[in-house]
């Protein structure tokens, strides 16, 4: 049984989605507890994957394919968890997207996947996302963190616009705002009143974890 969970982990590290799915089906058939498959198989696999990436042992495509494979596995596990009325626990929830007028995707997608790998629930809204959609999704999904990506010096002003729109709606204090993108600096983050800025995906995850701590403290007051 443990061998099977070990195989799931290995299949994630190898980025073999079909293998992951096959092993998950087999585990379910064999009657392994769904929560155990989730925690000791999929989530452990993702954690090892993330660690290996951080240590430079594996490359970004290994990470992306591994995460994709784990996601496919999750899809099979989720109905089983629902049957038992058990829910997966997340560190926090993130809504993320590239701002309006900007169709650059890759940086945002890397951050997205890194957050998922590290235990966040991520709603990726895609690229060229209008300000009002960000606001609507914050109201609707009540995330802990809102991530705004901009790659152009001409579109980074939209990050400010989103923050102002959240202020107007009176929901700015409900969510921590993180910004990123090639032209983004910590000075800009400060100027527009963002809560976090990260130079790369790994820093983004660390910063997100810090912000979750801050949120918890704020909420406990």
């Amino acid at each position: 049984m443990n061998e099977l969970l070990g195989d799931i982990i290995q299949a994630i590290i190898n980025g073999e989605d079909e293998e992951v799915e096959k092993l998950i089906r087999k585990s379910i058939e064999l009657g392994i507890e769904p929560l155990k498959i989730l925690n000791e198989g999929l989530i452990k696999g993702l954690r090892i994957l993330g660690d290996k990436f951080n240590q430079g042992e594996i490359f970004l495509p290994d990470l992306m394919l591994g995460a994709e494979a784990a996601k496919k596995g999750l899809k099979l596990i989720e109905p089983e968890l629902r049957k038992l009325n058990v829910q997966r626990e997340f560190i926090g929830t993130v809504v993320i997207g590239t701002v309006e007028g900007d169709i650059h995707d890759i940086g945002k997608s890397i951050v997205s996947i890194m957050l998922e790998v590290n235990g966040f629930k991520v709603y990726d809204l895609g690229v060229d996302v209008p300000t009002e959609i960000f606001v609507k999704k914050v109201e609707e999904l009540k995330p802990d963190i809102l991530g705004l990506s901009a790659l152009l010096s001409t579109t980074m002003v939209k990050q400010r616009e989103v923050i102002e729109a959240l202020n107007k709606k009176g929901i700015r204090n409900k969510v921590k705002v993180m910004i990123g993108g090639a032209p983004i600096t910590s000075e800009w983050a400060e100027e527009i009143g963002a809560d976090g800025y990260a130079i790369d995906a790994i820093t983004a995850v660390n910063r997100a974890k810090e912000l979750i701590k801050v949120l918890k403290e704020e909420r406990s007051i």
């Binding site: 951080n54 430079g56 490359f59 495509p61 001409t154």
Partner: protein, 490 residues
């Protein structure tokens, strides 16, 4: 007019392989298509025969449209200087160099890194105006101390004042472009004159994979309608934004740029377009994510690109000499030397956005402009090759026999004096000679010598200024354009 040295000595692909890349790229445009973020542009493509999906904004472009466009694109493009002695003509295998482009930070003489300013742009523009191996002047610094709105217009005011060389510039939108073209027209004496003698041309970037955003389409349309040269540039990072293989990336680059060229020729047949890319590998490890500007693969792509663009007869532009190093060190030297030499041997017509730059083209260093100018001299010497003009063998035999086994040296031969400066590259900041003399002279390394030279140029060199009334007119144009900042950005 500057006559660029001929490159193109290095070819790696056969005619058949070039043809296969060409056909594969046409397949991409016809079957996969490209995204165009403008319904007007989509309509234009549809009317010309493309298959358009207005919902996804994807146009599938039939191959005959592309091949027709390639035939309409000019084979030779003049980039004119404010002073005609700096005119360059991009064509064939001629190689020219454009300076730094789009730097954000400056590594100052005190070796500290700080955000670049308008003042830096002014100093670097004068420095590039002086350096003999910089032929064309892009926007070295995106100044961080001015408001984002109309930033490139303000930058152009600085550039046109501080260099007599051609400006390879950028614009953010149609208003920005129009304002700059008015400024340039004032300098040359009217819009018609500017069409005849374009002292400004534009760098215009697609978004990989296979996307043309609103900004690209506005600038392309503006340039095509006005008739100023425009580059169609794509900047994929291999493995991230294009296939991980060299062949896969070459097919994608070619599809993207041909897609842009097709559109330019549909908007205005005969639009001078420069086939450009800044493709290189993508760092895919945790601590190196981003473009690897000094990668050896880049040089190989440049060879393929030069061969392909010669096959099309369209002038080319690629990025070199580049490095990911954060200082002026060994890595800096080997990455710059290899990317530069490969690109020149490839015969890329305009080598740009590398001179003066370090830190993956994010930071510029004053000393680096001088050392890169030096490196350019070496590269140009190499691509000039071994020259054997008529009579040279006879002259050689003559001087060898004059000295002969009884003579001891060639130092007092007229032949030596006559050919020394033609045949030998003469360094300026490169350290040569013996140890003791070097110690006596202060034991300075290249970086220190380059610093002295850069400081001297910045202190002393000012190009021919613009007439007072032209400067005033430029100020008036900018003031007028910025009168309504809200409308400027659309």
């Amino acid at each position: 007019m500057i006559i660029g040295a001929n490159g193109g000595q290095l070819e790696l692909l056969s005619k058949n392989q070039l043809y296969e890349i060409h056909m594969a790229s046409l397949d991409v445009l016809e079957k996969v298509g490209m995204f165009f973020e403008s319904s007007e542009v989509l309509k234009l493509l549809e009317d010309a025969g493309a298959y358009v999906d207005y919902k996804t904004k994807i146009a599938k472009i039939p191959r005959y449209l592309v091949e027709e466009a390639v035939r309409k694109a000019p084979k030779s493009i003049m980039l004119c200087g404010r002073n005609p002695k700096y005119d360059v003509r991009l064509e064939g295998k001629r190689v020219y160099i454009a300076g730094a482009s789009g730097g954000v930070y400056v590594l100052d003489f005190d070796r500290k890194r700080r955000p670049g300013t308008l003042k830096d742009l002014e100093k670097i523009t004068r420095l590039e105006d002086y350096l003999e191996n910089v032929h064309v002047v892009p926007t070295a610094i995106v100044p961080q101390d001015v408001p984002k709105l109309g930033l490139y217009t303000k930058a152009y005011e600085i550039i046109v004042e501080n260099t007599e060389k051609h400006a390879f510039h950028e614009a953010e939108n149609m208003n920005d472009l129009k304002t700059q073209l008015k400024m340039a027209a004032t300098v040359v004496g009217g819009e018609d004159e500017l069409r005849k003698r374009p002292i400004i041309s534009y760098i215009n970037c697609l978004v990989s994979p296979l996307k043309a955003n609103k900004r690209f389409l506005e600038i392309l349309t503006g340039c095509a309608k006005f008739g100023v040269p425009v580059s169609i540039e794509t900047d994929p990072q291999m493995g991230g934004l294009s296939p991980v293989t060299l062949i896969g990336t070459m097919i994608q680059i070619n599809a993207e740029v041909l897609g842009g060229i097709t559109l330019a020729q549909l908007i205005n047949p005969g639009t001078p377009v420069i086939y450009a890319h800044a493709a290189t590998t993508m760092g895919l490890q945790a601590k190196s994510i981003g473009a690897c500007e000094g990668a050896p693969e880049r040089g190989l792509l440049h060879v393929a690109t030069a061969q392909l663009t010669r096959y099309y007869g369209i002038p080319s532009c690629c990025v070199a000499p580049t490095t990911d190093s954060k200082s002026i060190d060994v890595q800096n030297g080997y990455e710059k030397a290899l990317t530069f030499l490969m690109t020149a041997l490839a015969g890329i017509n305009l080598i740009h956005s590398g001179i003066g730059m370090i830190d993956s083209c994010i930071t510029v260093s004053y000393e680096q402009f001088v050392t890169d100018n030096e490196l350019a001299g070496m590269v140009f010497r190499i691509i000039r090759g071994i020259e054997i003009p008529e009579g040279s063998i006879e002259e050689s035999l003559d001087v060898i026999s004059k000295v002969g086994p009884l003579g001891s040296h060639y130092l007092s031969q007229k032949h030596t004096k006559k050919y020394l400066k033609i045949e030998h590259w003469i360094p300026e900041v490169t350290v040569r000679g013996g140890w003791e003399l070097w110690m006596e002279a202060g034991a300075k390394n290249t970086r220190e010598l380059a610093k002295e030279k850069a400081e001297k140029i910045i202190a002393e060199h000012y190009p021919e200024p613009l007439p007072k009334e032209t400067k005033e007119e430029i100020k008036r144009i900018i003031k007028e354009a910025f009168k309504n900042p809200n409308s400027y950005n659309h």
